[in-house]
Amino acid sequence: MVTAGIDMGAKNIKVVILEDGVVKSRAMATTGFEPAASASKCLEQAAQESGIEITAIDHITSTGAGRKTAPNVNSDITDVGADAKGIVHLMDDVRTVIDVGAEEGRGIKIEADGKVIDFAVNEKCAAGAGAFAEAMSRALEVSLEEFGQISLKSDKTIPMNAQCAVFAESEVVSLVHAKTPKHDIAKAVHDAIASRIVSMVRRVGINEKIALVGGVSHNPGFLDALKRALETEVVVPENPDYIGALGAAIVAGERTK
């Protein structure tokens, strides 16, 4: 049986194709202004890489913020449900998933079978999402990759008092003017994002083991800040951006049976 999951994220679309529960291919494309067209191209790319015709896919399930706009899908599932399924498939001992994407943060408490116990989603506060780190890296004139790395060099704790991304940017500019080293500012930004995410995750309660997924999990500075804020270990699975798409593909398989 061949299934596919399409994660229609705010910034990127991710596709995973599964054959009998085994990942055959993955593909990613920028969402852009035409999400449906981008999703079709991304699916074609994944199909090409797997050597499987799109017509041979038995069931396609979409997820993510734009899941209702995905073309030619058979069903959809919430991003919360997809994350839970995806992570348990890869790491069956994970009980809390933290998903930080470009514009949203999610905290999900799960059961051993990947069923969601409790969840909280913050779709509004940019100060708790990847877009904020990206904007701050631009303000410091470093690449996003470098932004994550340099923050690990800092051993200072600079509190950011602003609760909003716009005002936090003003604080960053003030720190720049005060000749604060870039690595200290980068750490302050990551600490601020982590503090907002942890506050949301604590709403649903934290059961170990904790996994971080989503695009922001590639940022080592944020991962370090999250571990310090939670005071516990946080694991990052392989291909953390694709967990939602993987979960959707698994659900597609369950819905075909």
């Binding site: 069923k115 409790d118 969840f119 913050n122 509004k124 907002r196 506050s199 709403r203």
Partner: protein, 93 residues
């Protein structure tokens, strides 16, 4: 499952929590009609259970949409909480 709909920002945490395990058992769903701002809708969740959820278009502004039911003084019981017989709805603020 406790589904938290809402957000947190610089002014606080604004979540409406729906305990779907309690909600599933309710045949009445009178919360949907009780809310003067029409925040609630009945959906089929990921596990094919019919439950009440907050409409997508309201999730980023619950603080404001619920404002009329939360005057600063003489705060009456919330219509949605009153109407929810299983006690599945709670507000964080």
């Amino acid at each position: 499952m406790k589904a938290n709909y809402g957000y947190m920002d610089g002014s606080g945490e604004f979540f409406i929590t729906i305990d779907t395990d309690l909600c599933i058992e309710c045949s009445d769903r009178s919360c949907v009609d009780a809310c003067p701002a029409a925040l609630f809708e009945i959906i089929m969740d990921d596990y094919d259970d019919e439950v009440v959820a907050i409409k997508q278009e309201h999730r980023k502004k619950v603080k404001y949409d619920c404002g009329a039911c939360k005057p600063v003084s003489d705060r009456p019981p919330l219509p949605c909480v009153e109407a929810c017989k299983p006690g599945a709805i709670t507000h964080s603020w």
